[in-house]
Each structure stands twice: as C-alpha cells, then as structure tokens.
Symmetry: C2
Subunit: 367 residues, 2 copies
C-alpha cells in the first residue's frame, strides 16, 4: 500500500503512454483529470493485488470511445458517482476497490480521478498490460470472466447496463451505444471478486508504468547512451529508427485505422519501415519483412526525448525510434492469441515473439 | 374482463393492421406467435383499463426493429421470461399486467404471445392508437412519463437496460443496440403504475381493432356498397382510389423510407396521388395537394377485400383505396404534434385534421 500524489501521476502517465503502444490517446487530458481530482481530495491509495481480500468487490473504471472526443466534451461531474451507484445497486453490494482495465493513455489516468473522487483505493493491476482497441481483449476473457453486467454512462446522464453471452457481444453493443452517445462514455465492466482478479490480472502495471516514466525522464543520466538507457529500462528490442514520410488514416466503425511509413536513418539508412495500427500499433515491417506483431507492444518514441508518440499524433517529419516490448505472458498462449493475435486483426501470419524475430534470446535487465 | 382466444386474435390482427397505417409489418407472423402461445396455454385475459388498480404494475411488451427481420430470425424461447425477470428485478416488484404499446402489425400481436406464455392479463389499451416508427412517439411522452428503465433482449440471450434523460435518447440508444443485435429485439419500456397508465393511455384499442377486423370481414353484408360499409366501420375519409404505378424505397438509419405513386381510377381518373412513408404512411398528396398528414392515420387497403396493405407490401399494379382516419385526440395537441406532427418528420407544413382537409365536419357513425 502506498499513496499516489501528483508527482507519481506524472511518471505513471508518461510510462503508461509507452505501454499504450500508440493507443489510448494523449495521456495529457487524463493526467489533468487525475491531478485535478487528487488536488481536490488528496492522494489515492494504491494497493498491491495481494492486499485485496479474495471476497472483496473490485470494479474497473475506464472510458470507451475516442480519447480525442473525450478531450473535447470532457467527463460529467457525476459520471463516476453514477457508475458507482449503477454497479453497487445492480450487484447489491458496495465497491471495495477500483482498478484500471488497460495501461495506456487516458485509461491509465481516469481510474485515479475516479478513485480520488469516490474515496476508494485503486489496485495496482490491469487486464491488458498495455492498451488494446476492444473490450473483450483482456486477460479476464482468457479466464472466462464475463465483462457483464457492465455499466455505461455519458456526460449527459444517459446510462445503460449490458448483460451479454460473450465479451465480444459486450464490445459490439457497448460500441454502438458509445457512438450514438457522441463517441466517448465512462464504463465499468469485469466487476469481480478479489480472488478472480488476482488469478487473471496483469500485476503491478501501475508501478511498472511509474518506473518506465521515471526512466524516460532520466535517459541522459544512465551509464550508456540515452538510447541504450531507454532500451534497457523499457526492456525493449530496437526495431527501427528513422523519419516519418507518410501517414495514412481511415476511420472505420468506431476505430482509427492507419499506417505510418518511416524512412530509415543511421544503421537503417536505405530501408523503409511500415507501422500499421487500429488505435494501437499492430504490425511493423521493415522492407516488407515482419519485425513484430500484436500482442507484443510496438511503440514509437521520439528519438531525442524518448517520449512515446500515440498513433493520433504521428505526422510527417517526426523522427522516431520503433521499439518492440514483450507482451504479458498469457497473451502468448493459444487462448490469448485467439483474442489479440495477428489473425484476429486480419493479418494472415502466425505470431512469433518479438525477441525471437529480433534474434534476441533474453530481455535486457531493468535500468 | 374477457377472454381472448384464437378467433378473437384473427379479428384483432386484421383490425390492427388497419390502425398500423402501413407500419408494424405483416400481422401474419405476429398472429402465428400469438395463436401458437394461446393454443399451448389457453386464452388470454383482456382487462379494461378501469379494471387495473391504481398501484398495479403495468408493463408494455413489444418488438423493436424490422418486422421482416423478426419474421426470419424469430423470437427466442425465453425472451419474454427474460424481459419479465429483467423488469421485475430492476424495479424489485412483480408485474401485474402486460400491455401493448402500439396498435398495428406485429406489435398488436406479440403482447398476446407474451401474456399467454407468462400467464399474465393484458390491458385493453396502448400508447399510440396506431403505429409510429420511434419509441418516444407515445401518449405517455406527452404525459412526461419516462420510457426508462427499459429492458431489451435478443433471441441469443444478450440483454440491456437503459435509463435515459429523454425518451428520444431511449430511442437513439435502443435503436443502435437493435441494429447491432441483428435488426430485431424484444423490449419492455414505459413500465408504470395503473394510475399513470389510465391517465395517458389510448383506451380499448384492442377492442377497436377487433371490431375493425370483424367489419372488414363483413363489408359485403352491410346496408351500402362494400366500400361504404368499410368507410362507415372505419370512420374513415376516402382520400383516393387507384392503381399503384411506382414504389420508391430507401433504407436510411434503421427505417424504411419510401413513396408510392397511385394513378387515379373512377372519380379520381386523371389524378395522381403520392403516399410518403417512414415505416408508417406520413403524408398523402393528390396532384400535389396535401390531403392528410401524420398523426392522422393514412391507410391503404385493397379495393376488393379491404384488407390493409403494409408499406413493405406495396407494389406495382395493386389497386388501393386510400383512407384517412382521425388520430387519437391527444396527438392533435401542441405537445402531441411536437412529437409526431408533420414537422417532426421533416415536412414544412402545419397539421390540419384530415376531416377538415376533406371538408367533412363529422365522422360517420360506427357500422
């Protein structure tokens, strides 16, 4: 158990934006909301999963939809209170702790805002260990945990409770309501007991985000070059480095699809990389050869500051380092790959771990 | 209180298809479901609104979406039981009676199937006195009654509860879920106490449907010509008669929009009528001059059998009589016209009662 104040939030937001793998939107908006709430009500208590009782009622909170829309329309004054009331009255029990459901951008920050405003502790865990575009893409789905009953509310005061036969149906129904509600809503789903949470969650992701954020801030203080320090801290495989020469974008369904082309520099001179994304980066190729695919994390960071660049901020001329991070182990199982592997996203290729593609046997140690 | 068996169902279905004003789909499918349920479980008890206690819990049941889809995918074995459980557990009270929410096609019949299967009585009332395309278009909206909490379930077992700030939001959110669910779902909304129901409902619409159905079957047995007998029984204004020469259709959003052109015959020879619809018939013009608009009922019936023709069955060559029926009085108020008047549907014209446009001061007496 420890307290998370404004200083920690800054580091967590920065680190989580790396784990976002390009998705989750600009963490700035979420960070402002978390900081605003903490300034008003005091630091948030962060609990290790082991500090949660097996029969405690743990409720994830997130936003669904486009983070860019959230940035414009904001979150209603009472949305988290509404979610609390919906969940606790539907389940007829009080909520013991909140939890983030994904690491990355806005959704790594909003649970802090909710925890501060509701006076509840937050669990240091999530259901992805990164960001993914669809609701069913959580480790809890592998564990057979239902996303529903799920609560959804918008800033106007409309609210919906879903109960579905699969977590993919949750995604489809909730996505439809999100779009009609203007493109961004607040949700609680995968409400569960502590024992289930502990069995399937990705542990200590908030702490890892914080460590990553700190490391990004201090890349110039390590023993190697800033890039070496960054790669060591992120436990990342260097996949490419160069200048963005083109970004193609397409909005389909409720998702941002697209592709960035990168012209190589230094040891990659003369080569071209392509990064394809659906909200999050999905596949990176170099001269047509795959270097990494989902569910491994494909992250683009600024070559000077090492600050992660979300897919919606990619643009011509940016100089980027492309890094591959190993995903949470459970995603590499057959059940995990069925949910978030390359084939789910329409790529006719088998998953090969990023470190195997890169010919690297082991991750580097932590910074 | 009286019992509704298979024979009554036949008449109610026929009469309700006239009140459907072209909408609500082919009553045949709904009729089969109602008859199937009644054959299994016995006749349904129909209660006059006055027989309902002020504090009784009355729950409307309907299908939302495209009746043509319903005809193909059907209704799941447990949908009505699911709706019952959702509503009674969300409100934490047992349901005393069911009610239809609209007269017309499928939705005049499904409440009988539900009442038979759940062993509940049905109230002889609805919220429209006809059919309308959107959820908020009920007399209860005029009375300020909320459509929500509303329950929605599909044949696969997915279910949703909505709570919205306006009944138009209910329409928008539920329509989105309906479309994603494959285009047809079962719903309960405007769940209310007997006192509220009695204050705003359209009374005895089931009985009126039955009388209309009987009258249509016996148009050849009256004192005048079959057409005179039909018009007297329907209390209808004759607006046009002729042969359909063209039908234009367009699916937009979740609705069937379109227009039928009719070439006049007999006293209408040389004239052309146009009937525009959004699921239900909205406006009829003769040589460009408006003869009737929503919320009055615009009904097309076969010139020989006087059987009503739903908009999805309109086709080239059909000989039709176009009849205008006065809508329920409350629809003619300012509050009513704001919800279902011609301007709501995009027509830049004031509402003028059909009998005034026709120069008829009084309705004819009943047959």
């Amino acid at each position: 158990m420890r307290k998370i104040g404004v200083k920690e939030i800054e580091d967590i937001a920065l680190g989580a934006s790396l784990l976002g793998s390009g998705g989750g939107g600009d963490p700035y908006v979420g960070k402002l909301m978390a900081i605003g709430a903490i300034r008003e009500t005091g630091p948030v208590t962060l609990l290790d999963p082991e500090e949660i009782a097996g029969n405690a009622f743990v409720v994830p909170i997130a936003m669904m939809g486009a983070p860019t829309v959230l940035a414009e329309k904001g979150i209603g004054r009472n949305e988290y209170r509404t979610l609390y009331d919906m969940v606790s009255s539907f389940y007829n029990r009080k909520i013991d702790a909140l939890m983030p459901i994904e690491a990355g951008g806005v959704n790594s920050m909003l649970p802090f805002a909710a925890a501060a405003r509701l006076g509840l502790p937050l669990v240091d865990a999530d259901g992805m260990g990164r960001a993914f575009p669809e609701l069913q893409m959580v480790t809890f789905t592998i564990g057979g945990v239902s996303a529903t009953p799920m609560a959804l509310t918008d800033e106007k005061g409309n609210s919906t409770i879903f109960k579905t036969i699969t977590n993919k149906w949750t995604e489809d129904l909730a996505r439809a309501v999100t779009m009609v509600s203007g493109g961004s809503v607040s949700i609680s789903l995968y409400c569960m007991e502590g024992a289930i949470m502990k069995k399937y969650c990705v542990r200590n992701i908030v702490t890892r985000s914080e460590q990553l954020g700190k490391a990004i801030r201090s890349v110039k203080q390590g023993t190697g070059t800033p890039e070496e320090n960054f790669l060591a801290a992120a436990e990342g495989c260097k996949l490419f480095r160069g200048k963005i020469t083109d970004v193609l974008r397409e909005v389909r369904g409720a998702f941002n699809f697209g592709k960035a082309l990168i012209e190589g520099s230094a040891e990659y001179k003369g080569k071209t990389a392509s990064v394809e994304f659906q909200n999050e980066n999905l596949v990176v190729t170099v001269d047509g050869e795959i270097r990494a695919t989902t569910p491994d994390l494909i992250c683009l960071v600024d070559t000077e500051t090492f600050i992660p660049i979300p897919t919606d901020a990619l643009k011509y001329g940016k100089r980027v380092l492309v890094v591959g991070l190993q995903c949470y182990e459970a995603w590499r199982s057959q059940a995990g790959l069925a949910i978030v592997g390359p084939r789910y996203f329409g790529y006719d290729t088998d998953y090969v771990p990023v470190e195997a593609r890169a010919g690297i046997q082991n991750r580097g140690g932590r910074a």
